[in-house]
C-alpha cells in the first residue's frame, strides 16, 4: 500500500526508522530534534519496541550501542550540543563495529548557538568528531520524502558495514512539513540482524573477523555466542591485544571497510550536469534553493548544473572528479564558513575556478543569492 501523506521531517525520520526495523530509541530533548523522540515515544511501544528518555546524550548514545550489541536495531537523535556529547560513544561504536544510527538535526553553533535556526556546521564533526582515525558513513537528505527513504538506507548501511551511521538533517528539514509519497514495503528493503550464534556449545563466537572485502562478519545477537567487545585495540576475537601489528591490522581494516566500498556506498543526485559549465555543489535543505537557482538560470540560458552529495561521508569523490573535468567553474553553497568546499578543492586538480557561497546568519540561502554568485562567476570565467 502506498499513499501521499503530509509529514514533518523529524516525524518522517522516526517513522522511517521504525520501517527500517528500529526497535530501540534512547534520546534527550533538544531543538530541533525533539520531535523525533516524541514520535518514537508514541510509536515504538506500539510495535513492541522501546523508547527511553535518558539523563543526557552520552547516556542515550551508550544505551543505543548497548541495545544494538544485545540484538536490536537502535537509533538516537540530537542536535549540535548533544552531538558533541555523543562523540566518545560514536568512536566506541566504530571500534566495536556496532550497527547504530545517530541522527543530528543541525542547528546554529558553536555552543548553544541558534537553537531554532538553520546551519550546516557539523559536516566535519560528523567525519572527525570522535578522537582517533575511524570510519564513518554520513547521509544527508534534502526533502522529507528523502528523510523517510534514506533513514532506511542508514540502517541498512549500519548493518551491512557494521558501523555507526550519522544521519544529518538540519533545522529546516527537521521542522518542515511537506507532502511525501509513502513508499510501499516492497520498495524499502531492510537488512535483517543475524540471530543468535548456532555455533557449538562451548565455542566463543569471534565477531571481529574481516573477510577479503575487509567487512566484519555480521553482528550476531547476544546470547549463545558469549562474545566480548572492547574499545581497546583487539584481535579477531574481540579481546585486547598489545602487539603493534594487530593495532595496525585493525585500524586499517576498519578504515578499508568503508574506503574500499565508497563507490557502493555513495549516493548523489544531479540536475542538468551534462552540459554544465558552472557546477553548483549543495546538500541538505540548502540544495533546494540551489535547485531553484539552477532552474531560473537555465531559463536565462546559463549552463548551470547541480551536484548534490547525499552520502556526505564517504564523500562521492569519483563522480565529482568526473564532473570537475567538464566544468569551468564550481560554486559550493553551504550554511557554514566552508566545510565541504575543502573536499571539493582537494579533488580540484585542474584548478577549476572554485567559489564558496557561505552563509551563517541562520537564514536560508536564497535562490537569488545563488543566482548573484552564478552571475559573478560567469562574468569572471565565462565572459572573458
Amino acid at each position: 500500500m502506498s499513499e501521499y501523506v503530509l509529514m514533518q521531517g523529524d516525524e518522517a525520520c522516526a517513522l522511517g526508522a521504525i520501517k527500517a526495523g528500529c526497535r530501540f530509541f534512547a534520546g534527550y530533548p533538544i531543538t530541533p530534534a525533539t520531535e523525533i523522540a516524541e514520535t518514537m515515544a508514541k510509536e515504538l511501544p506500539k510495535v513492541g519496541g522501546t523508547f527511553i528518555q535518558m539523563e543526557d546524550e552520552i547516556a542515550s548514545a551508550a544505551a543505543i550501542v548497548g541495545a544494538s550489541l544485545a540484538g536490536e536495531k537502535a537509533m538516537t537523535a540530537t542536535s549540535g550540543p548533544g552531538f558533541s556529547l555523543m562523540q566518545e560513544v560514536i568512536g566506541y561504536a566504530s571500534m566495536v563495529e556496532a550497527p547504530t544510527v545517530f541522527v543530528n538535526v543541525q542547528r546554529g553553533g558553536p555552543s548553544t548557538g541558534m537553537p531554532t535556526k538553520l546551519a550546516q556546521g557539523d559536516i566535519m564533526q560528523a567525519r572527525w568528531g570522535t578522537h582517533g582515525d575511524h570510519p564513518v558513513i554520513a547521509i544527508y537528505p534534502s526533502t522529507v520524502e528523502e528523510v523517510y527513504r534514506y533513514i532506511v538506507t542508514a540502517f541498512n548501511y549500519a548493518e551491512h558495514y557494521r558501523t555507526p551511521v550519522v544521519f544529518l538533517m538540519d533545522e529546516v528539514l527537521g521542522h518542515m512539513r511537506e507532502s511525501l509519497y509513502l513508499p510501499p514495503d516492497s520498495e524499502l528493503k531492510s537488512v535483517p540482524r543475524a540471530g543468535e550464534s548456532v555455533l557449538e556449545d562451548d565455542d566463543i563466537f569471534q565477531p571481529f573477523i574481516g573477510d577479503d572485502q575487509m567487512l566484519a562478519a555480521p553482528l550476531i545477537k547476544m546470547g549463545k555466542s558469549r562474545f566480548h567487545v572492547s574499545g581497546l585495540v583487539h584481535d579477531e576475537s574481540g579481546f585486547p591485544v598489545g602487539a603493534a601489528v594487530d593495532a595496525n591490522r585493525l585500524l586499517r581494516r576498519l578504515d578499508h571497510k568503508i574506503r574500499l566500498h565508497a563507490d557502493e556506498i555513495n549516493i548523489c543526485d544531479e540536475y542538468m550536469t551534462d552540459d554544465a559549465e558552472i557546477l553548483i555543489v549543495a546538500y541538505g535543505s540548502v540544495a533546494r534553493s540551489a535547485l531553484r537557482a539552477v532552474k531560473i538560470a537555465r531559463e536565462d540560458k546559463i549552463n548551470v548544473g547541480l551536484f548534490r552529495p547525499i552520502t556526505i561521508w564517504p564523500f562521492p569523490a569519483t563522480r565529482l572528479r568526473q564532473l570537475l573535468k567538464k566544468t569551468s567553474a564550481v560554486i559550493v553553497v553551504e550554511m557554514n564558513l566552508g566545510q565541504i568546499v575543502y573536499e571539493v578543492s582537494r579533488l580540484n586538480r585542474r584548478s577549476t575556478k572554485l567559489e564558496l557561497l557561505s552563509k551563517v546568519n541562520g537564514e536560508m540561502v536564497t535562490p537569488q543569492e545563488i543566482l548573484d554568485t552564478i552571475a559573478k562567476v560567469k562574468s569572471e570565467v565565462l565572459d572573458l
Partner: protein, 275 residues
C-alpha cells in the same frame, strides 16, 4: 562450590590477568562466579557490562556475554542491553571512579528508574588504573597522587547515595568478608529492580602505599578491623561509627521496575491496536 567448577565461568585462556598480585579484584570476581553458580543461572543469559578501570577489566575474564565499554558509561550501555533483551540478567561491574564520579549521573538515574540491573561496585577508594588519584570515595585526610597534602574533599557514602536515589536492594561488604560478599551478590542477582552491592577492596599498590598499607594483608586486616555489621552499627552512636565500614544489607524492597512498567505499556498498546 568446587573451584574447578567455578573455573568454567572464567576465560582461562585470557589469563594471566592484568591485576597486581594480591589485588582484591580477583576476590570479587570469584565471589561473583560463585554467586552465579549457586543460583544456577544460565551463562548464556547473563550479560556483564563494565566501564574503564582496573576493576572494569573483569569483563575480559568472565565467560558470559561481556562488554568492556567506556569510562563511566557502563550503566547507560547496560540500560540499552536490558531494555533490548529483558530476558537477560544484566550486571554492571566497575570502580568507584567509574560508577560514582564520571558515571555518577547514570548511577543515580538508574536507581531512580529502578532499572532491573545488578551493579557491583569495586570500591578501592582510589583511581587504580591511572595511578592513584583521589576518587569520590577517597576518605578525607588520606593521601593520593593528586592529594599530596591530604584529601580535603568529603567522600560519598555509596549506600546512602543508592538508597536515596531509589535503588531497591543495597548492600555493602569487603573483600575480607568473602561469605557475605557472595551472599549479597546472590541476593542482588535474585532481586527484581536496581540492586547495588558495594564491595570495599584493596588497591594496596596505590591507596595502600600512599596510606601506610603497602601489603595486601595490611589492607585486609584494615577491612577486618574497621568493619561493623549493620545490626551492631544500628545500636552505636554516630561518633563511634566515624571511619568505620558498616557492612550488611541496607535495603531490600519490592517495587515495580521500569522494565515491568514498560512491558505493561507495550501490552496495553498492542491490545488497543487490536480493538
Amino acid at each position: 562450590m568446587s573451584t574447578s567448577r567455578l573455573l568454567t565461568y572464567l576465560r582461562q585462556d585470557r589469563m594471566p590477568h592484568v591485576w597486581c598480585p594480591g589485588c582484591g579484584n580477583g576476590v570479587i570476581m570469584k565471589a561473583f562466579v560463585d554467586a552465579i553458580d549457586r543460583l544456577l543461572l544460565d551463562p548464556e543469559r547473563i550479560a556483564v557490562v563494565s566501564g574503564i578501570g582496573c576493576s572494569s577489566r573483569v569483563t575480559g575474564y568472565l565467560n558470559f556475554n561481556t562488554m568492556h565499554t567506556l569510562h563511566g558509561r557502563a550503566i547507560a550501555f547496560a540500560t540499552g542491553v536490558k531494555l533490548a533483551r529483558p530476558e537477560f540478567k544484566v550486571v554492571v561491574m566497575g570502580g568507584d571512579g567509574d560508577v560514582l564520579a564520571i558515571g555518577g549521573n547514570h548511577f543515580i538515574h538508574a536507581c531512580r528508574r529502578n532499572m532491573d540491573l545488578t551493579v557491583v561496585i569495586f570500591n578501592n577508594n582510589i583511581y587504580g588504573m591511572t595511578g592513584g588519584q583521589y576518587s569520590p570515595t577517597t576518605p578525607e585526610d588520606t593521601y593520593a597522587s593528586t592529594a599530596p597534602y591530604g584529601n580535603i574533599e568529603d567522600q560519598f557514602d555509596t549506600v546512602k547515595l543508592a538508597i536515596n536515589s531509589g535503588a531497591t536492594y543495597v548492600a555493602r561488604s569487603t573483600v575480607y568478608h568473602y561469605v557475605q560478599t557472595v551472599q549479597y551478590i546472590q541476593n542482588g542477582l535474585k532481586h527484581k529492580g536496581m540492586s547495588v552491592i558495594e564491595i570495599m577492596t584493596n588497591c594496596h599498590t596505590y591507596f595502600g602505599r600512599y596510606n601506610g598499607m603497602p601489603e595486601p594483608v595490611q589492607m585486609l586486616s584494615y577491612f577486618k578491623e574497621k568493619s561493623v555489621p549493620l545490626k551492631k552499627a544500628e545500636k552505636m552512636p554516630p561518633e563511634e561509627l566515624d571511619g568505620k565500614i558498616v557492612i550488611g544489607e541496607f535495603v531490600d524492597i519490592e517495587k515495580e521496575t521500569y522494565n515491568e512498567k514498560y512491558e505493561q505499556l507495550k501490552l496495553k498498546l498492542a491490545f488497543k491496536e487490536k480493538e
